[in-house]
Amino acid sequence: MSEADLSVPFRQRAGGAMKDAHLQEALTIATTKFIGLRREAFADFPEGERLRDLAREIKEATLQSLDRYLEQLIDNVERLGGHVHYATTAEEARRVILDVARRTGARMAVKSKSMATEEIQLNEALEAAGITAVETDLGEYIIQLAHERPSHIIAPAIHKTKGQVAELFAKELKREVAADPEVLTRLARGELRDKFLRADLGITGANFAVADTGSIVLVTNEGNGRMVTSLPRVHVAVMGIEKVVPSMTDLMVFLQILAKSATGQKLSVYTTLVRGPRRAGELEGPDEFHLVLLDNGRIRQLAGTLREALYCLRCGACLNVCPVYRQIGGHAYGYTYPGPIGILLTAMLDGATAVTDLAHASSLCGACADVCPVRIDIPKMLVELRRELDDKKLAPWTERLAYGMLARVLASPRLYRWAKPVARLLQRPFARNGTIRSAPLFGDWTRTRDLPAVAPVTFQERWKDLEREGS
């Protein structure tokens, strides 16, 4: 299964994912491993809690002066010979990048992993314009060959077995190799090395952008970030406006907790700070550097309920601990960003109507907020989204009616008291030994679980006796 079909209801997409045995095994192994790695990394790192507080504060402080820091970033990039573009929509971002590609005669682009470019659906636009776009992050490369979308923010091909990857390489690269990760990696290295050296255009995102220096920061483990930004003659970086950080000192705070949160590493293998195009005297580096600043719904949230979601570092820690994500994986969510933060980002980018189902894809357990390096209160915003769905009447009228009635019963002691004998009466055909195994209207529960019947004597009805007992 490749793309999630949004015309299929979310509940069904989730059901499909749970029937996929390979996916289930991969999800369990991967998320359990990441959870353990993160836990070990922070157990070994007593300053971690203080740094998370500081990181959150820096993100908030940055937003409070966002215009100033962005202007500083822009001025520095331009001073160093780079170009800055402003994209209000995904469409604008695609247009800007295509213009650059066409003007510079690019025929092939190599890409370092960038969720922002997935968000604006750049690859399709490049291909449509006759430009080959090659994903170079191994996981992204695999899913690109498979014509699929990533299923996890940092481990995009987690849902594929090595056997599936070998089959894929045999089919798409016409190379038969053993289903061994070492061999498969070596094959990919060779294929992609050739692309790096021949590409005209390098496209990246930006994990951070340092306002004080005009540097773009790329965090990778493979080294493709360095390749993509030093070998082709043009470099385009696409970046959400919230990625700006004020200074190198601030950057170090984030670097100390980012990799630990994502994979349990102290640092990812490569953290690359790129300031503009090639300097005089340098042997390599692009002739042109372009920074595309992306709005796509972010600006509106500066004063919106999802403001805190702008702190997100895209580490994926919340996905790994989310009981829902762990059962269904990334594709079932249906949008670029999956998992707990993904629901908020989808609402940010595509509006509340996009999350009428997804806003409820959470038990509000709070595990996500617990592990978020910048302490984003995801459950709080999920509840806010649900409120918005009610306020805007986007929730189904049957549901709104039912909750309206519930509110009336719970607000009236008389109605509440009266509801109990009514419930006991209605449940009589279905209750046996205090348990209901199946009942109309409650099928969604009773299909897999017994339901307790309303007690023959509720606590309130017992209180008088209990009170006497105590005196």
């Binding site: 509940r11 829902v324 059962q327 038990s363 595990a367 309206g404 719970l410 195994r437 339901l451 606590f459």
Partner: protein, 246 residues
């Protein structure tokens, strides 16, 4: 002679209707510990089911009533982590009227989930109810992450004469209840529950203890459907002399 501590019980809607024995056990337990217990009449619900699903006007109305009902309480004891969390952390911010909000904040300061009340207010961790056999403990999400409480219930369970507390693997992972989540996405909820129950059964415990009615509905409902001999029990019932079969 010091005046007896006074506690007002908030039994919760699920507790009242489905698990009255939990309320009964709570009252008897507190009385045995020298606490005088009252039960403000006319209580219904803290408003959480409405709040979590986004029906905030309704939640505010329902919750505000509770604030009014409990305004004279010295301590409010709630045998449910999620309801205590609602009262302490969500309800005040929900109320627009300043007087109501301040009353809610004052109430929040006097509200305790049961195990927290036992350990932090009454300072008791050793209980006279004796229990035979293995027990294991499931951390309810709102008690664990909302009220930052994982030690009090464990301290109590460890102090139970004759009982052996076995740590539940992944005790801090959700049971899959999540209120309406359990019926909006029942397949996902059930799969989460399956994994939780596998862990429960792996401990060899005769019962799994929790401090939240929602978790107990989910855990108990799943265990019973499987025909398991393991029982889902509220902490209060265990301390009231209930004996799980070995």
């Amino acid at each position: 002679m010091t005046q007896a501590l006074r506690a007002s019980l908030m039994v919760t809607c699920l507790g009242d209707m489905f698990f009255p024995e939990v309320g009964v056990s709570t009252v008897r337990l507190l009385r045995r510990l020298g606490v005088s217990v009252d039960f403000p009449a006319g209580q219904t619900c803290c408003g959480q089911p409405l709040f979590n699903s986004g029906y905030h006007a309704g939640a505010a109305r329902v919750g505000a009533r509770m604030v009014e009902l409990f305004k004279d309480a010295e301590h409010v004891v709630v045998p449910s982590g999620s309801c205590a969390f609602m009262l302490k952390h969500e309800l005040p911010g929900l109320l627009r009227d300043r007087a109501a909000r301040e009353a809610a904040e004052r109430l929040a300061g006097r509200t305790y989930e049961l195990s927290q009340f036992l350990v932090k207010v009454l300072r008791r961790t050793e209980f006279t109810a004796s229990v035979a056999g293995r027990v294991t403990y499931h951390d309810s999400c709102h008690l664990l992450r909302g009220l930052h409480e994982s030690a009090a219930p464990r301290a109590i369970l460890r102090g139970l004469r004759g009982a052996e507390l076995v740590e539940l693997p992944a005790a801090d992972e959700c049971c899959g209840f999540g209120g309406s989540f359990s019926v909006r996405l029942p397949e996902v909820s059930s799969q989460i529950l399956d994994k939780k129950l596998k862990n429960v059964e792996s401990t060899g415990a005769a019962c799994v203890v929790a401090c939240d009615a929602g978790c107990l509905m989910q855990l108990g409902g799943g265990l019973r459907r499987r025909g398991s001999s393991v029982r889902a029990v509220h902490l209060a019932e265990l301390l009231d002399g209930e004996r799980p079969s070995p």
